[in-house]
C-alpha cells in the first residue's frame, strides 16, 4: 500500500515522529526499524496482530522503554524520552492497554494522581472532585468520583483511564485499545470527543482490533506485523480486507462459523436466581449444542450472573440444574468439578499468574490431569501447552516465557487456553475476544462452534453486538439485574437489542412477567 499525498494538514512537520525504531526483548525483536509520523489534527490508527509490537511502540513513545535503535523526533527535533514523566511534560498522554489505576484511591484521586490540586500544601479536595466530575461529564459517564476505583466495573475503570488522559491538555494522545471493555454507546461518546480533540489540533494514535472503529475514526492507518511496518497510508485508501491481509499476511475466510442445526437436551437450567441488590429472579435454560449470547450495558449484571453460575459469589438464591439434576455451586471448585469454565474479564487480576510461564498458566485449572502420584508430568504439560500455543497462535518466544511479558492479546489467549484445557461442558465467556486480533478472533469463534458441535454449551457475554448477532443461537438481554428477554439473532437487529438493554422495552410485551425466559418450561 503506497501512501497517497500528504493529507491536507496545517503542519508540515509531524508533531511526533519515530525513525527506524528498534526494540529487542530477550528472544523477541519487538520492533524492527519502524517509522511513524504523527501530525497534529490527525487520528492515526495503528493495527496489527497480537504481539505485532503496537503497545511496545507506544511505550517507547511515552518514555517507558528506551529504544535499542532509531530516533524520536518531537516537532522535528531529536529528543530522548528518559521517563514517563518527561514524555508527559512534553504534552503526551497515554491510555495504556493494561490499567494503571490505584485501586484503593478514589476516582478523583486517580484522575489527578500526578497533579492533585493543592493550596499551601493542602489538597483542595472539593476542587479536585469538581474537576474530576467535569472530565467525566465530558465523557458522558456517571461515576461517583469519590468511589474507590477498585469498586468499579472493568468498563468503568476503562472510562476512568480514558478520563485520566483527557484530564490534562495534551498535544499527543495515545489510546491503546481503549474500547475493548466498552459498549457501543460509550464508544460513540468517546469518538465524538476524540474528533473534537482532533479539531483542536491534537495528534492522536488509536490502537484497536475493532476494524469498524478504525475505519470510522482514523485518518491514517499504519499496519505492523512482527515488529515491522508493513503498510501505511490514508484511511480512505484502505479497505478492511486489505488491512486484514496486511496484518495477517493472508486472506481470512468468513468471520463467523455457520450456525449449527438443532439444539440438544437442556444442560443448564436456571430458576429464579437472585442475588440481593444485583440480580433479580433470573430464569433461563441452556441446551447442548448451543451458543447463547448474553448482552447488557455497563452494570446490567451480566458479569455478576456469570460469576453466580460459577459459584464465585456468595449469597446466591435460586435453583440451578445441570443435566436435570439440582446442584449447589458454592465455589468455583465445585463448578469446575461439574465441568463449567469461566473466562473473566480482568485477565491481569483474575486470569493469569503474571510471574509464571505459559505452561504453568495453561495447565493451572487442569493440573490434576497432569499429576501422577502427586508428581507433575512435565512433558505432558508442555505438550499440551505447546498444542494450545499453536492452535491459538500464541506469540511467545518460548513456552517458558513469563506471561506478564506477553502482549495483551496473547495473554488473553493464554487465559482461553487454560480453560479449554479443562475440557468444559459449559463454557461461560466474558468478553472472550477482548483485545484479540481479527485472525485469532475467528479462531476463537471456530473453537466455540466446535465445542457446541461436540454437544457442549457456550454462554458468552460480549459488548460487541456484531459478535453476539453473528455467533449466537439465541440472545439474552439484561438490564438492571433482570433478564429483559430473549431474541432470535436471525430476526432481530442491533437496534432492538439496544432497546431491550436500555430497559426501554421488554421482549414480546405479551410475555407474562416472571415467566422464565428462554427454553421450554421444564
Amino acid at each position: 500500500m503506497s501512501p497517497g499525498a500528504r493529507p491536507d494538514v496545517h503542519a508540515a512537520t509531524p508533531r511526533l515522529a519515530v525513525r527506524g525504531i528498534r526494540k529487542v526483548f530477550p528472544g523477541v525483536v519487538a520492533l524492527d526499524s519502524v517509522d511513524l509520523d504523527l501530525y497534529p489534527g490527525q487520528i492515526h490508527a495503528l493495527v496489527g496482530e497480537n504481539g505485532a509490537g503496537k503497545s511496545t511502540l507506544m511505550k517507547v513513545l511515552s518514555g517507558i522503554y528506551r529504544p535499542d535503535g532509531g530516533q524520536i523526533l518531537w516537532d522535528g527535533q531529536p529528543v530522548e524520552l528518559r521517563s514517563p514523566a518527561e514524555a508527559r511534560e512534553r504534552g503526551l498522554a497515554i491510555v495504556h492497554q493494561e490499567f494503571n489505576l490505584v485501586g484503593p484511591l478514589s476516582v478523583a484521586e486517580n484522575l489527578f494522581l500526578a497533579e492533585m490540586p493543592t493550596r499551601r500544601g493542602f489538597l483542595q479536595i472539593q476542587e479536585m472532585r469538581r474537576r474530576a466530575q467535569e472530565v467525566l461529564d465530558r465523557l458522558g459517564v456517571a461515576i461517583d468520583v469519590t468511589r474507590p476505583v477498585e469498586s468499579l466495573t472493568v468498563a468503568e475503570m476503562q472510562m476512568v483511564e480514558i478520563a485520566r488522559a483527557l484530564a490534562r491538555d495534551c498535544q499527543v494522545l495515545i489510546l491503546d485499545e481503549p474500547t475493548a471493555a466498552l459498549t457501543q454507546a460509550e464508544v460513540e461518546r468517546l469518538f465524538t470527543l476524540l474528533r473534537t480533540l482532533r479539531a483542536q489540533g491534537v495528534a492522536l494514535v488509536y490502537i484497536s482490533h475493532k476494524l469498524d472503529e478504525v475505519f470510522a475514526l482514523a485518518d491514517w492507518i499504519t499496519v505492523l506485523r512482527d515488529g515491522r511496518q508493513v503498510g501505511s497510508g490514508p484511511a480512505d485508501q484502505w479497505t478492511k480486507d486489505q488491512v486484514i491481509a496486511r496484518m495477517v499476511g493472508r486472506e481470512l475466510a468468513g468471520r463467523f462459523p455457520p450456525r449449527r442445526g438443532a439444539r440438544g437436551r437442556p444442560l443448564l437450567e436456571v430458576r429464579n436466581l437472585s442475588l440481593p441488590g444485583k440480580l433479580f429472579d433470573i430464569s433461563f435454560t441452556l441446551h447442548e449444542h448451543e451458543i447463547v449470547g448474553l448482552f447488557g450495558l455497563m452494570g446490567a449484571g451480566q458479569e455478576v450472573l456469570a460469576r453466580a453460575l460459577f459459584g464465585a459469589v456468595r449469597g446466591v438464591e435460586g435453583e440451578i440444574l445441570l443435566n436435570g439434576q439440582p446442584v449447589r455451586l458454592t465455589s468455583p471448585r465445585e463448578a469446575i468439578a461439574h465441568h463449567l469454565a469461566l473466562v473473566t474479564e480482568d485477565r491481569k487480576h483474575e486470569g493469569l499468574i503474571l510471574g509464571e510461564d505459559v505452561v504453568a498458566n495453561t495447565t493451572l485449572a487442569s493440573l490434576e490431569r497432569f499429576t501422577r502420584a502427586g508428581f507433575l508430568e512435565r512433558g505432558r504439560q508442555k505438550a499440551v501447552a505447546a498444542s494450545f500455543v499453536e492452535r491459538l497462535n500464541i506469540r511467545t518466544p518460548s513456552l517458558h516465557q513469563e506471561v506478564g511479558y506477553l502482549s495483551g492479546g496473547n495473554q488473553q489467549k493464554v487465559v482461553l487456553a487454560k480453560w479449554l484445557a479443562t475440557d468444559p461442558r459449559l463454557f461461560i465467556l466474558v468478553e472472550p475476544t477482548r483485545g484479540i486480533d481479527v485472525g485469532a478472533k475467528s479462531e476463537i469463534y471456530q473453537i466455540m462452534d466446535e465445542l457446541a458441535r461436540q454437544g457442549r454449551a457456550v454462554l458468552f457475554i460480549s459488548s460487541e453486538l456484531p459478535e453476539i448477532l453473528g455467533l449466537s443461537d439465541r440472545i439474552l438481554v439484561m438490564a438492571n439485574g433482570r433478564l429483559q428477554g430473549e431474541l432470535d439473532p436471525e430476526q432481530t437487529s442491533q437496534e432492538e437489542i439496544m432497546r431491550l438493554a436500555t430497559g426501554l422495552a421488554r421482549a414480546g410485551q405479551a410475555t407474562a412477567p416472571g415467566r422464565p425466559v428462554g427454553g421450554e418450561t421444564p
Binding site: V102, T118, V313, R314, G315, R333
Partner: protein, 340 residues
C-alpha cells in the same frame, strides 16, 4: 438501610468496637480499671508503642516494613542523653534525638527507594548496626538523666494529661491531617496501592518511599526521647523487640501489609488495644506465664471478631460487594469470594 449503615460502620470501626468491648470486659472484671488514674496510666504506657506505630503506619502503607525502629530508638535516646550530659542544654538534647532518628530513617529510605532493596533486609541490617553503634556509644552502660526538664518529657503533665499522651495525640492528629488532606499523604497511599501505576504517572516514587522511612526514623527518635525521659536514663538495650509490637498495632488497626489500605486512627486503636490488654492482664493478676497465653488468645480473638463483623456484612446485607475488586487479593474482603 439503618442496618446497612450499622454494618458499614462496623466494617470501618470494628476494631474500635472491639477496643470498647475489651475495656468493658476489663471494667467488669476489675473495679479499678475505669479509674481516671488507670486510664491515664494505660494511655501513657501505650504512647511508646503508639508513637512507633505511627511512623510504621506510613511505611506499611507504602507496602514496606521497618524493623529498625527499636534500635533507632535506642541510639537516639543514647545520643540524646549523651548530648545532654555534654552540653547540659535541653534543646540540643531534644534535637539530637530527633536528628539521629531522622538520619537513620533517611538511610533506610535511601536503600529501599533507590536501589530498590527489600525493606525487610535493609531495616534488619539497620536494626543490627544501629544497636551495635548504641552499645559502642554507651559502652554498654545506661546514661542517667539528671535534668528535671528532660525528665518532664516522660513523666510530666500538661494540665491533666501526661506529656507522652499529649505528644501521642498531637502526632496522630498531624498524621491524620497529613494522610487525608495533603498531596504527599495521598501519594503514600498511591505508592502502596500500585507502585507501577505511580511510576507511569510520573510520581516520584523513590522520594515518597524515602519520606516514609525518614518519618518512621523521626518518630523512632521521638519515641527514644520520650522513653529515655520516662526511664530517666538511656538504656543501651532499649526498644529491643518493639518493632513487632508496632507492626502488630498497625495491622490490628486494619492497615494491610500489602500497602495502600489502612488508616492512622486505626493504628491508634490497635496500639490502645495492646496497651489495655497488658494493663488488664496485670490488674487481674494473671500469672506471667499465663499472661502470654491470654495475650495471644485475646489478639487472635480480636481479629477473629473483626473478621466476623466484616463477614456478617459481606454475607447478609452487602452481598457480593467488590467481587471484582482488583488489587491482587489484598482487598478488604477477599472472603466475599466463596473459598472452599
Amino acid at each position: 438501610m439503618t442496618q446497612n449503615r450499622w454494618v458499614a460502620w462496623m466494617q470501618r470501626y470494628g476494631m474500635f468496637a472491639i477496643l470498647v468491648l475489651l475495656c468493658l470486659i476489663l471494667g467488669l472484671m476489675h473495679e479499678r480499671f475505669f479509674t481516671t488514674a488507670n486510664l491515664l496510666v494505660v494511655t501513657r504506657q501505650a504512647a511508646i508503642n503508639g508513637l512507633l506505630a505511627a511512623g510504621m503506619t506510613l511505611v506499611i502503607l507504602t507496602g514496606g516494613i521497618d524493623l529498625s525502629v527499636g534500635s533507632v530508638l535506642a541510639l537516639a535516646g543514647a545520643v540524646s542523653a549523651g548530648t545532654l550530659a555534654a552540653t547540659g542544654d535541653l534543646t540540643w538534647a531534644i534535637l539530637a534525638a530527633l536528628a539521629v532518628g531522622t538520619v537513620l530513617g533517611f538511610i533506610n529510605g535511601l536503600f529501599v527507594a533507590y536501589p530498590n532493596l527489600p525493606p525487610f533486609i535493609v531495616t534488619l541490617a539497620t536494626m543490627a548496626w544501629a544497636r551495635g553503634l548504641t552499645l559502642v556509644y554507651t559502652d554498654g552502660r545506661p546514661i542517667l538523666i539528671r535534668d528535671a526538664a528532660y525528665r518532664f518529657i516522660g513523666g510530666g503533665y500538661l494540665g491533666p494529661l501526661p506529656v507522652p499522651v499529649v505528644i501521642l495525640l498531637v502526632t496522630y492528629l498531624v498524621l491524620w491531617i497529613f494522610l487525608t488532606r495533603t498531596r504527599w499523604g495521598r501519594l503514600i497511599y498511591a505508592v502502596g496501592g500500585n507502585e507501577q501505576a505511580c511510576r507511569l504517572a510520573g510520581i516520584p516514587v523513590p522520594r515518597v518511599k524515602t519520606l516514609v522511612y525518614t518519618a518512621s526514623g523521626f518518630f523512632a527518635g521521638l519515641t527514644g526521647l520520650v522513653l529515655t525521659a520516662r526511664l530517666v536514663s538511656a538504656q543501651p538495650t532499649a526498644g529491643a523487640g518493639y518493632e513487632l509490637d508496632a507492626i502488630a498495632a498497625v495491622i490490628l488497626g486494619g492497615t494491610s501489609l500489602a500497602g495502600g489500605r489502612g488508616s492512622i486512627l486505626g493504628t491508634l486503636v490497635g496500639a490502645l488495644i495492646m496497651g489495655v490488654l497488658d494493663n488488664g492482664l496485670n490488674l487481674m493478676n494473671v500469672s506471667p506465664f499465663y499472661q502470654e497465653v491470654a495475650k495471644g488468645l485475646v489478639i487472635l480473638g480480636a481479629v477473629l471478631l473483626d473478621w466476623a463483623l466484616h463477614r456478617a456484612g459481606a454475607l447478609g446485607l452487602r452481598p457480593a460487594a467488590k467481587e471484582t475488586a482488583p488489587g491482587e487479593g489484598s482487598g478488604p474482603d477477599p472472603s466475599a469470594l466463596a473459598s472452599h
